[in-house]
């Protein structure tokens, strides 16, 4: 048993097409890929929101001023 259906290379390459593992599950893989991609946006969006909320407080005006002057 092999994850791409090939047990050996005793084949004519003219007759070989895809050789990646788990052929037939492409749609599932795409779903996993989409979940990974959109999940990344969701987590990043939430974290940035929290970071910006914390960062908006002007706690030490001297430090903020120095940071602005750094340019």
């Amino acid at each position: 048993m092999s994850t791409n259906g090939m047990e050996n290379w005793a084949v004519d390459l003219a007759e070989v097409t895809a050789i990646y593992p788990f052929q037939g599950t492409e749609v599932i893989m795409v779903v996993v890929g989409v979940v990974f991609w959109l999940g990344w946006h969701r987590i990043q969006f939430k974290r940035e929101e929290e970071e910006l909320e914390q960062a908006r407080k002007l706690e030490d005006r001297d430090k903020v001023s120095a940071s602005v002057e750094r340019y």
Binding site: M6, E7, W9, L13, M29, G33
Partner: protein, 452 residues
Amino acid sequence: MDGNLNAITTVFTEFYYWVTIVFMFLIHVGFCMYEVGASRRKNHMHTLMKNVMVIPLVTVSFYLFGWWIYWAFPNFPFFGGLDLESGAANLPWADTMGTNVGDRITGVFWAAFLLFSWTAASIVSGSVIERIRSSALWVHAVLIGSVWWIIDAAWGWHYAGWMVKYLGYHDAYASGVIHAIAGGYALGVITVLGPRIGKFASDGTPRDIPPHNPWMLAIGIFLIYTGFWGFYAACNVPIISPEGIGGQITGDTWTATNIYLSPTTLSAITFNFLMSLSGGLMAAYLVSKGDAFWTFSGGLAGIITASAGNDLYHPIQAMIVAAVGVVIVYRLHYWVERRFKLDDAVGAVAVHGYAGVVGLVISGFVLWGQPSSPFEGYASINPLGQTLGAVIMFFVLGFLPAYVVSKIQASRGALRIPEEVELKGLDYDEELTYQAAVAETIAVNKSEIANR
């Protein structure tokens, strides 16, 4: 007609490898920038020179004996003797190791492997910055670049290597044969070398020693990414006929192959390189909470994790394998740092070593049962073979020799720079000379202006 077709194929192959070599030079440029960017100003020049001199030292030793090891060691010492016949054409006194119009491939093939040697040595160089003696590092550079990695290549990255035959070892783009061994080697050195002064608080809490220039790090890692394209291409045989392979493949369709002479395509590795880079970057961004250093390194770690099977994976598999690997690698890095008080200045053990090991283990499951070779009688790819391979690369050929040699160096006071020098900075004397020269030049110029 056949003669000219062969000539075109040969010259194309020669040019193909030559281009990969030029690309791969960027890996070393990137490593130099990365190391200098990560070091403090007081250590710049020594950090740079330490890595620059890896180039000639590994090149000369690889010409003298490293290349011969690759051809003579595929079954030595456990499954046969030295292959002296194959080795003969790759000895430094062989006529094929010079200008020879009858052999257009040996030079470029040697150089492609040599650039891998530089990379292996450079990985070690990054982890030990700011406290190792250059003389000690250069011994390690020759050992990892011209001995240990090329032995592992003969065993596990050669169409006739015993690891491929008996373990079904598959490592198309060198997760193990370059990255796991170099990461393991770096770990062996830093275990003996110890951390930089100030890296750990008195209660053992690790401190961050920030890079002096994060922009240099960013450009350095992008150059490494770019060079990695060349590295991937260099791991392939660009075009070969079934007759040229001489294995089980039938018909007359020519193909590109991996190093084991099993068919793959440049398209496959282009898909998978980019998707594993993306999976690594995305996972690293999340797990490190947007830390720039780890996000950049995560892209590289993602590619390295997927590299063992990137000739065969589906692009989405490559992306997921990369993402999973990066999360493991990131957590493992900080766990090891806290638990064993190890100072890996650029995260090389994690990004190369752990990523390589994780990538090999995962590939054993994803590629389970697939042929490791186009030749008859070879074991198929399997999880046990890949895991044993990872142990051989990381621990047996990486960590162990590095630890032993470092212990010998340390016992003779030849490993680490004196504490006073570490505190002042390795460039202290050069900096004073530089400042004096600057002051004198300014004074001379002012004097010239005043006299006119």
